[in-house]
Amino acid sequence: MARRDTPGLPDFSLLKRLARDQLVYLLEQLPGKKDLFIESDLMSPLDRIANMSTLKQHDIVKLYKVEYKATVSLSDQLCFLIRPRIQTVKWICDVVNADKAVGRFRRYKIIFTPQRFFACEAVLEEEGVFGDVTTDEWAFYLLPLDDDILSMELPEFFHDNFLAGDQRWLRTVGGALHLLHSVYGPFSKLYGIGSCSQMTYEWWREQVEQGEQGARPAEIGSVFLIDRDVDFVTPLCSQVVYEGLLDDIFRIKCGCVEFGPDVTSSDRSVKVMLNSQDKVFNEIRNEHFSNVFGFLSQKARNLQTAYDKRQGMDIKQMKTFVSEELKGLKQEHRLLSLHIGASESIMKKKTKQDFQELLQREHCLLEGFEIRESISFIEEHINRQISMMESLRMLCLLSITENGLLPKDYRSLKTQYLQSYGFDHLLTFSNLRQLGLLVEQQGAETLTVMESKVGKLVNDKTAGKITDAFSSLARRSHFRALSRKLNLVPKSDEEYDLRVPKDMAYIFSGAYVPLSCRLIEQVLERDGWAGLEDVTRLLNGHEFAVTGGSRAEPNSDAQRLVLVLFLGGCTFSEISALRFLGRAKGYKFIVVTTAVTNSSRLLEALLGNHA
């Protein structure tokens, strides 16, 4: 019997403290005054765990952003806090070599985070500065964005791993998992699907085997690992849950959003932290947008009543009111007006672009209904040059749900897309095809022919492998079949009350249960993949369910704490769906992700039209 209460969460602020202490330790190893160069995408994460005074305390005089320009720093000691990227290291080499050329002597230290790569050090060696520059690692794996969200802040995982096929971040993810296991484990069960998940599991398992475990009470019960490419449909859908909408429209960065003048109705922009500390936000973040207005106005009325209490108070009561309640009310007032402003701005933007029609087309694609109409809708969207990203998103959604486009449609839509948004998107289309996001339908014969052709070229064993290499071509999404087997699209003839959601489909207005979350639900319910063989076959396999022989009693709180690790990013909508599932089934989910993503971020990583 599922329990209705939900267990409490482990204290993840510990992770921040650990990261901060380690950074301090690394800085302490560089005594004396120094300037620190920080890679721009590390600034926000760094902000969450340390502040300027922490850095100042450790003799950092000036902070610079890495901008690939000649340095103006006058310090004798330069420290670079960067991601392990070849281009950044090359720039540092240029800085060092420029100093050498003018006979300037400085000390240089690179702190790679979360780890160093051999390829980066090879650059130091090739550029002749190996030794002049010392390196270190800051194992900052996980940033708690909220009580139940941990992000690795590695958006490039998606591109590097799925598009380029470079597995260098798998170990990093394994490291993050190991960290969680060491601090909050031991885990009793692990489930997963996808080849990256499987490899990560393998790596982690070896670490566990080699290490020793302290006897701690387990704080986390089971773990679910899932590759992003198991489900591309969900992140490509428009988000309609409040937090997801905010992310789609304003772009939440590292748990923080910047509201412009149109939201604040002043001439200033305001940065707002979005997490459970914000009481107003916490109540609406998982709500379907249609409920948000009602909620906010109710809240506003309550606030008014609370303020109105002042009427007829005597001095003493007034004093208590001011000292005890007013501050809270003012805070709530501020937050409320921000979220009302944001909702208004969302409404304005969405009505302007015919959001309703867009959603309707999207739902048709998910249902596999009126495909022709959807194609001409997308075509008009492209013809009118409406939004480059939206057009691409709809094209991909069409392709995945339909298992590829008819060759005729593919060519015509591609041509029109290139005409509307630039011919250099040829490269984007090539990337999308490689990933299987936007493809032409291929007759089954074509594939077999290709396979047997290749098979003749090489010996039989290699043939399988080569077919694997063609798998992006061959890989079919099978969305329709999956949708049927997992009942992802609820029957449309029933009214769906978004205020009282009955399943996870509410996050997409009742039109679609996210595939990723449905898999998690099913596997937890069945305690494994038994009975889901048809589904895993359609998903390309690589599923696993393993038990570690937990000593914890099965009904303890920890056993109902499930850690879900998304390799390649997850969306706020998925997080909302899991929170819903948790409430319904008595679980509590902790989401760990390589980065929070959405359709724009996902597709931007695949755009080919930049140098």
Partner: protein, 515 residues
């Protein structure tokens, strides 16, 4: 391999530590320990084992790992120092790629054999290492004299194991192709991209590229890593050679084409695109690249060059005359002679804009021009085979923006066989209305098109939204819907013409209302 002497000194002087050698190991170690304690005052010291970090100093090569940087053990973080019995082991899941890779490592039998024979070793050896990579685990304790030999004895597999732990290793001793490939295959089997790339960099340095390419052909995972490495380090030339060797000509063409993105000068870019035309694209992409080139060439003519002087020929004298008058747009704008540039100053140059933007631009600034001029919308349409619908939408938006309503009207004009004009559109009329309304067309213009929307419901809702009262009223009249008409009366301004019209209808006895 070793850090240079000067550098080492520099490091040690800069830190609290002093350089140490193996001769005075104990002394230095105790100092190291002291400083560590000082720095780590917040946490307790690790088990003694960790003091053996010296192994790393000796062989620092890949990693410039400073000796003093004692990474945190996760156990410390968890705050538990006790050694307790092991976690019950998790089962191993055979991962497809690794087995596959071993089985076709190109060395056929021998490698298979070795791989299998070692697999036991694999486990036991790995057991010797404690914990995560960030903990620099102690080496197996051996007398120093034996130590050097031991280094040299590492097998490819053991070497990969060390790489996996971020430890210093020398790869130079793997000189036979067989050993090199074993290194690679073990790296691939370990699923660590970082290590795979490390081995590939070594192979790239020590193998002739033809040999490396040949071997990569049957190792897809390694190949992908190599391609990504070359892409990131921008070794375009080698990457192109690799793709050619693999027969991936389309990828090669796209990669070369991609270079145009970093060319800023428009003439250079055009010339580069021209050179791309002969690349082995797919037939489909080849046409797109051709269009890309033609478009940029066209944009340069329209934007910068005076077409007449540049020696382009037109057949008719009329056109010649025209092109004489028509200086290129940049000059026209600067000179301020042409009225339209004053009314609607150009926001940006047309260079490098998409085709449809260019078409829009031509519809905006060069609408009436005859088809012979390069800037004429009709010419653009013909050259690039733009679909009727696409052309229509673009022209509509551009002329609406200019509020050239007669041009807009003319776009729809078709004649039926009786010679009556009637409006037809390749775009559904509610979209037409949308385009017009976005360009703030007045109600008189809008209502003409709202009236043409077939679907009555859609027509009414749009008409209501856009306040085209006449249409709403007549639609309700046609539907004989008295109630709706009465309701609508409340929405129009009292005393206005629409209200009077409604009243007239409601008073009209001849209409047979359905309600």
């Amino acid at each position: 391999m070793m850090r240079s002497k000067a550098d080492e000194e520099e490091y040690w002087h800069s830190s609290k530590f002093k350089a140490f050698t193996f001769e005075d190991e104990d002394d230095e170690l105790s100092r190291l320990k002291e400083s560590k304690q000082a720095v780590n005052s917040i946490r307790q010291l690790v088990e003694e084992d960790d003091d053996d970090d010296d192994d790393d100093t000796e062989k620092v090569s890949w990693s410039g790992e400073p000796v003093g940087s004692i990474s945190w053990s996760i156990k410390e973080m968890a705050g538990s120092n006790q050694k307790i019995d092991r976690e019950p082991a998790f089962p191993r899941i055979p991962t497809e790629p690794s087995t596959l890779n071993k089985s076709h490592s190109g060395l056929s039998l021998s490698s298979l054999f070795r791989g299998k024979a070692k697999s036991e070793n694999f486990q036991s050896f790995s057991d010797a290492f404690s914990d995560s990579v960030r903990i620099y685990a102690p080496e197996l304790r051996k007398p120093k004299s034996e130590y050097k030999d031991y280094v040299c004895d590492w097998s490819p597999e053991e070497t990969v194991q060390r790489l996996l732990q971020g430890k210093a290793v020398s790869l130079e001793k793997f000189r036979s192709l067989q050993d090199k490939l074993l290194l690679l295959d073990f790296a691939v089997a370990a699923h660590d991209g970082n290590v795979i790339t490390a081995v590939l960099i070594y192979l790239k340095r020590s193998l002739r590229k033809e040999v490396l390419f040949r071997e990569l052909q049957s190792r897809q995972t390694a190949l992908r890593h190599f391609i990504h490495y070359l892409t990131e380090s921008r070794e375009q030339k080698l990457l192109l050679e690799l793709l050619r060797a693999l027969g991936r000509t389309e990828d090669m063409a796209l990669l070369q084409y991609k270079e145009h993105l970093s060319i800023t000068d428009e003439n250079n870019k055009r010339d580069f695109l021209k050179s791309c035309l002969s690349l082995p694209f797919s037939a489909e992409d080849s046409a797109h690249v051709q269009d890309h080139y033609t478009l940029l060439e066209r944009q340069i003519i329209v934007e910068v060059r005076n077409p007449f002087r540049s020696g382009l020929h037109w057949s008719t004298g009329c056109l010649m005359l025209r092109s004489c008058c028509q200086a290129a747009d940049r000059q026209a704008e600067r000179g301020g002679k042409v009225e339209i540039y004053q009314r609607f100053p150009r926001k940006a140059s047309i260079l490098n804009m998409p085709l449809i933007t260019t078409l829009y631009y031509c519809c905006f600034y060069h609408y009436g021009e005859p088809e012979g001029t390069f800037s004429s919308p009709l010419n653009v349409r013909r050259t690039f085979k733009i679909s009727e619908k696409q052309y229509f939408v673009t022209a509509l938006a551009a002329r609406a923006k200019l509020k050239a309503w007669s041009d807009v009207d003319a776009l729809f004009t078709g004649r039926n066989w009786l010679g009556f004009t009637r409006k037809k559109s390749p775009l559904s009329f509610h979209r037409v209305v949308d385009v017009l309304q976005r360009n703030s067309a007045p109600t008189q213009v809008l209502q003409d098109y709202v009236a043409l929307i077939d679907d009555a419901e859609l027509r009414i809702s749009l008409a209501q939204k856009l306040k085209c009262h006449d249409i709403v009223i007549s639609t309700f009249r046609d539907m004989k819907d008295r109630q709706m008409l009465v309701a609508y009366r409340g929405k129009v301004e009292p005393g206005s013409a629409p209200e009077r019209k409604i009243d007239d209808l409601l008073n009209n006895q001849q209409i047979r209302w359905k309600n």
